[in-house]
Amino acid sequence: MAADLVLTIVLNGLTLAALYFIVASGFSLIFGLMRTVNMAHGALYLIAGYAGYAVFEPLYDQDVWWAWYAGVAWGVVVAAVVGTVMQKFLLGWMQGQELRQALVTIGVSIIVADQLLAFYGGNPRQFFAPDAIFGASAVPGVGNYPTFRLVQIGIAVAVGVALWVILNKTKLGLMVRAGVDDREMLAACGVNVPLVAIAVFALGAGLAGLGGVIGSTAQPLSQGMDGRFLLIALVVVIVGGMGSITGTALGAVMIGLAEQIGQALFPTYSVILTFVIMVAVLALRPQGLLGRATP
């Protein structure tokens, strides 16, 4: 295989990994740190996509240069608000009851998908990136490559750095980590733990929303994306390790590369490669590559 083709495949894998990381990091945050099983994470992706598009489309028609940015911002806000409402009124009640939370959030995602279908219909939608990040850039060894996909990698790196700073350098991050260790003791030290949980949930949901708009710029937004991205988030987090941001990044890169390499080498069976990786990790290191073993 030619070197430039190999490099292109790798770059494709990395850009896909960037999108997977953005979506999965929110899932990892909620699942790994708050132990809340949010099976509606894909639904949040979908909500943000449609909500963002509703703001983007009229602005784009008027040729406003910030149409896409407004769509991103609105998608993130709507997803974060929906996440907050879910945590406050549905999931906060059943803290620690993982099966119940899983069933409730599956119910939520079915309702959301049907309502979005009823409201927006089944036509796929796609955002157009603003001129500044549209078009192609020259990448050494690859040639021309879509600029937006490179930006996607930049956004994922920014998200990763921001999450690391939040978790390690801010009071909220300290509260979250202490809450994972011992919620009861954290509350006895004067911290409003349910409020911290809502903040984390809003942050995780907002990341699903960011993924929703970015993902719907790179590829069309349509029904069924919720299930697809929920599954990807699950696989990435299982491979990388729950609650570890670095692990999520590693998992996303592995899954993104595996998908692209698989499609190039054996297109028919490429889907299997993803699950082979997951099964291998589960068999050899059940807590995930960088996950902490639970005693």
Binding site: K171, L174, M175, R177, A178, V180, D181, D182, E184, M185, L186, A187, A188, C189, G190, V191, N192, V193
Partner: protein, 235 residues
Amino acid sequence: MLRITDLHVRFGQAHILQGVSLEVADKPIAVVGRNGMGKTTLCQTIMGMVKSAEGAIEFDGTSLVGLASNKIANRGLAIVPQGRRTFPSLTVHEHLKLFSQGSNKPWTIERVYETFPRLAERRGNGGTQLSGGEQQMLAIGRALLLNPKLVIMDEPSEGLAPVIVDHLIEVLKQLSAEGMGVLLVEQNLKVATSVAETVAIMVTGRVATTMSAAALAADDDAKRRYLGVAAGGHH
């Protein structure tokens, strides 16, 4: 400061607290008793970590019953729990940073480090890399940083080396001298009677009797009956 009246706690069928009445004023008070008498449950119930079945808990004139733990803590109560319960994921310094209320309060991060110099040496170490004594210092520092009006200490001397126990006694006396209320639950009679002038003895979920520390120290019969301590008083 803290007034507990006829407090009952049940875990299913088990009747753990069977009508505890206790009053904590400005002077430190110690609660002693054998294992399983309900001392830890009493501490946790005051902090709202365990729900009471009936009875009253009043702090500075307002009821604490039914309040969430964080609200109770915000009213000026702090706990150093049994088993320390420091957070393994946080380093020593992160613990203190998380609960520091600013430099204009009596207890600051610097003061915790001055009080427990060992913690300053271990500031970058994670919660799991600390010895029992260091974890205890950290748990105490964490509680003090909340600048509580009353601090509840559940067996702070448990598992500590004698030198550290002596240091602990000094710290507790100092806190009390500065006006902080102290409710000290102890198995170690020496610590209890050194810090507190009044000792409440718990037997099967009740305060069986309250006596002065001096009287308890001299009463071998009471020690044997309530605490299972042999005459001679080694513990």
